[in-house]
């Protein structure tokens, strides 16, 4: 069919356009900084594998865990790549072409799969490197198995994302009755200057929060984790389980709900609005949710171990710091929250590892990175 490669071609051209529009200095930062970090990460992992080769070679649990990680990563890749491919297959300017919905789905699937080949091959290459580093027996089998698993998970992720007919986000907002549903009291929290920016960030039709399937699952999961942690704290007379659950749950809630796309809109960028105010204001609703979740668990924590009142206090402070760091990454990757989450988690993981190796002074490096990203984002917001 003559349209088969259309979506892939569109995405490729968009990528080339974005790269061409990027300042050389920014491109250099990404290539040198990102490439350097990647090379460093690979080097320390390979060095660690070589040092621990005897143990790692026969650690069956670790190898199965690596395969599970490969499968999860392939699934995530497939779902992440299918979404933009599907959007382009249903682009408004293609609406008039005589292409059926099934054909558009096939175009999106083939484009997502074609792009997903690179990360799938990377997984196989990493497995090869790990096998060579520890002299794993039957290495070829592990590498081929990893490649097959990765491609299978990628295909599953693409199929999962494309299983439903596509409805453009704007059409969904415009559908009659789209503002109906469970109305949660968002408006009173969204009236400070700039008004309604939280509803805008969350894409709430007419400011009404309608719980989606994913929202319900997240809420139930957090509720269950909170209940379990509360029971554990009270049973052991220890504040730690509730505080840890509050900290982790609060951070997950913040990461799931912080959306910074208004920062790249000309509506805010051409308005007399300081970056700091816009940044803080967009964080307000997600932060309220995150802090509320932590506060609900801090009560049982203090009740379980009244003497350890500093633990909830330091946990709350830690949550605020982690939320602030994530908000900086989310503002930088304003239109790609998944990339923000990946960058944030990688930065935390690398900092944690290096802190174990070199001590707490590494935290200064993380602070410097966060300040650098904040300044870059502010400059882009104010000056372009």
């Amino acid at each position: 069919m003559r349209f088969d490669g259309l979506v892939l071609s569109l995405m490729w051209r968009e990528l080339r356009g974005s790269l061409a529009g990027m300042r050389k200095r920014d491109a250099a930062w990404i290539v040198l900084g990102g490439g350097g970090l990647l090379a460093y990460g690979l080097a320390i992992n390979v060095a660690w594998l070589v040092r621990n080769a005897d143990w790692v070679r026969d650690a069956h649990g670790a190898w199965l865990g690596a395969l599970a990680l490969v499968a999860a990563s392939g699934l995530l890749d497939g779902m992440l790549l299918a979404r933009p491919a599907q959007k382009r297959a249903h682009a408004r300017f293609l609406a008039a072409l005589p292409i059926s919905d099934d054909r558009r789905r096939a175009m999106a699937a083939s484009a997502a799969f074609a792009i997903g080949v690179a990360p799938a091959m990377l997984s196989a290459a990493l497995m090869l490197a790990a096998c060579l580093a520890v002299a794993k027996p039957a290495a070829a089998l592990w590498v081929v198995g990893t490649a097959l698993l990765s491609f299978g998970a990628l295909a599953a992720g693409v199929a999962l994302r494309l299983r439903r007919p596509y409805v453009a986000p704007e059409e969904r907002l415009a559908l009659p009755g789209s503002a109906a549903g469970i109305t949660l009291p968002v408006a009173p929290l969204d009236r400070s200057r700039p008004r309604w920016v939280g509803s805008w960030a969350w894409n709430l039709p007419a400011g009404r929060l309608t719980l989606s399937g994913r929202g319900v699952v997240l809420a139930l999961a957090l509720l269950a984790a909170g209940l379990l942690a509360t029971v554990a704290s009270l049973a052991r007379a220890s504040a730690a389980p509730a505080v840890i659950a509050g900290l982790v749950g609060g951070l997950i809630l913040f990461m799931a709900t912080a959306r910074y796309h208004p920062l790249v809109s000309p509506v805010l960028r051409t308005a007399p609005l300081r970056f700091g105010r816009a940044w803080l204001r967009i964080a307000k609703l997600p932060l309220a949710l995150s802090v509320a979740f932590f506060a609900v668990l801090a009560g049982p924590a203090v009740a379980a171990e009244p003497g350890a009142w500093t633990l909830p206090l330091s946990g709350g402070l830690g949550l605020l710091i982690l939320n602030s760091i994530y908000a900086v990454f989310a503002a930088f990757f304003a239109t790609a929250p998944v990339f923000a989450a990946i960058a944030f988690l990688l930065a935390l993981a690398l900092t944690a590892y290096e802190t174990l190796e070199y001590g707490r002074s590494v935290l200064l490096g993380l602070a410097a990175l966060v300040v650098f990203v904040f300044i870059r984002t502010r400059r882009r917001y104010l000056h372009g």
Partner: protein, 248 residues
């Protein structure tokens, strides 16, 4: 003493990826002036407007709005301009009323603090005011965008293709409004492909080609160039053909 310009550009160059799209732009705009910005697609009109509104950094030269340098104090400079954003940039999830409240809250004014009458009535979008912008047509989105740009009565008003999609009655009202706003002391930039509008509403016009000012008309020249119906259009078409031929 002549009044200070609302907008001043000196040797402005701006573009993307380190490559200038517009360059060598020298321009001043005073209160009461309506500047028509003309040019073919890709001539640099939108890039110039992005540079004026602080969405693109100046690669060379400077932009000053109301005496405030955009590079030095972008927030203060942006307080002196109102841009009617493109229709797709109006937040789709908000209602028209919420969007007006959003912009008014940023500008520190009431959501009906317009410089000339009730814009909701003038632009005829009251029935849409409490519906999500996602359900609006292109023209209705532009109406909300224009109304928001006027909130707080900023001295410099910028309309980039803002007459697109407006129905004839509102387009006519909009042309009258531009005259009223200019008379009230606002400086206005109107970027448009509707060439015949320019001599009717503008006091000056610029023709951009290949990112540079390739032609200019002051009010007398505009009047002279549009004595007979279609004269100005023919002059602009000739300029477009000339630059098109050169580019080819």
């Amino acid at each position: 003493m002549a009044d200070a310009p609302i907008l001043a550009m000196r040797g402005l160059a701006a573009g993307y990826g380190g490559r200038p799209v517009v360059g060598g732009i020298d321009l001043t705009l005073h209160r009461g002036e309506v500047l028509g910005l003309l040019g073919a697609n890709g001539s640099g009109k939108s890039t110039l407007i992005r540079a004026i509104t602080g969405q693109l950094p100046a690669m060379a030269g400077s932009v000053t709005v109301g005496g405030v340098a955009m590079a030095a104090d972008p927030v203060a400079a942006k307080a002196k301009l109102g841009l009617a954003v493109d229709a797709p940039d109006v937040p789709a999830a908000l209602t028209g009323r919420q969007y007006l409240e959003l912009v008014a809250s940023i500008r520190g004014c009431a959501p009906d603090a317009w410089p000339a009458g009730d814009m909701v009535a003038l632009l005829q979008f009251r029935p849409w005011l409490d519906r999500p912008v996602a359900s609006y047509s292109l023209g209705t989105r532009m109406k909300v965008s224009i109304a928001a740009a006027l909130l707080g009565a900023p001295p410099l008003l910028i309309f980039d293709e803002a007459l697109n999609g407006l129905d004839p009655v509102v387009a006519f009202a909009m042309k009258q409004l531009l005259g009223t706003l200019a008379a009230a002391g606002h400086a206005i930039i109107l970027s448009t492909h509707v060439v015949e509008t320019v001599p009717v509403v503008c006091t000056r016009a610029l023709f951009l080609a290949d990112g540079r000012i390739a032609g200019a008309w002051d009010s007398a020249e505009l009047a002279a160039a549009s004595r007979a119906p279609g004269d100005f259009e023919r002059a602009v078409m000739a300029a477009l053909s000339l630059h098109g031929a050169r580019a080819a």
